[in-house]
Subunit: 138 residues, 2 copies
DNA sequence: ATGGGACTCATACTAAAGTACTAAATTGTT
DNA sequence: AACAATTTAGTACTTTAGTATGAGTCCCAT
């Protein structure tokens, strides 16, 4: 958010500078007028594409946006989200433990907490709810 | 691709038209010069956003209907597909048994067969593969 | 009518999953 | 530094999931 404001401020300053240049340096000449127009067009075309890319998919690979708002509402921690994602990939507790370099006991604790927070009885139900809540990719 | 070329051609024509207008109508006035610049900037910003949105929105693959072709390939029976769907809804074997009015043993048999046919070790992995194969709704 | 496929059910077993605690180390914030 | 939240890990236990095997019933097609 703050970054977006900064970028916009920079853009406005840049725009004003170009206007100034158009005024002082190329006041009487008409050829340069067109050049300024063209530059403005191209620059803003690029800016438009850039802005949209930033706003639409922040991370390149998962096109679908995860609902961070709901993750906070549910009180899911960072690690729990990680475990939840691995569950959705069909891994067992043991496999998740090996993948994340922790013990199986730890994963069991995480899973239990996830089930409580998602109000699910089983990990399969947790997957279903996580999909509905859009808190896991794909 | 062809559509993109057409759009670009239209844009170039539009740009040239604006140039012409800038030449004939607002030749001597400097105030309107800035106005034209501003319009160009806004228009191309919008165009940039629009173009990017078009290219990005094509990405999400429409899951649409279930792939009956693959179900046949995998050799999944009608009942097995039914059980698979219930698994994806997060139900336990017991719950599925009650829902389909059969014993839990029957469901266990079905699940085992499903796992073999989908080459999955767990029901969670079966869900993941079933999604990829598009043989379950949503 | 015979055979094959699908569906059903059972038993006995092993392997995961999940619960209910307790507790230490880590991390971030005030 | 003090505090809360997170992450880690353990034990002991219950429940669910999954495997292996065998067997009975039904329906459909050759």
């Amino acid at each position: 958010m703050t970054r977006a404001i900064l970028i916009f401020t920079a853009l406005i300053i840049f725009l004003l500078s170009v206007f100034k240049l158009g005024h002082y340096a190329y006041f009487s000449r008409n050829i340069s007028n067109e050049l300024v127009l063209a530059i403005i067009a191209v620059v803003f075309l690029v800016i438009g594409i850039y802005l949209n890319k930033k706003s639409l998919h922040k991370k390149p690979i998962p096109p679908k946006h995860i609902n961070t708002q709901r993750i906070i509402q549910l009180g899911l921690s960072k690690r729990e989200c990680e475990v939840l994602r691995e569950i959705s990939l069909g891994l067992s507790n043991k496999e998740i433990a090996e993948k994340l370099f922790v013990s199986e006991s730890t994963i069991k604790t995480h899973v239990s907490n996830i089930l409580v927070k998602l109000d699910a009885k089983r990990r399969t139900q947790a997957i279903k709810k996580a999909r509905e809540f859009q808190i896991i990719p794909l």
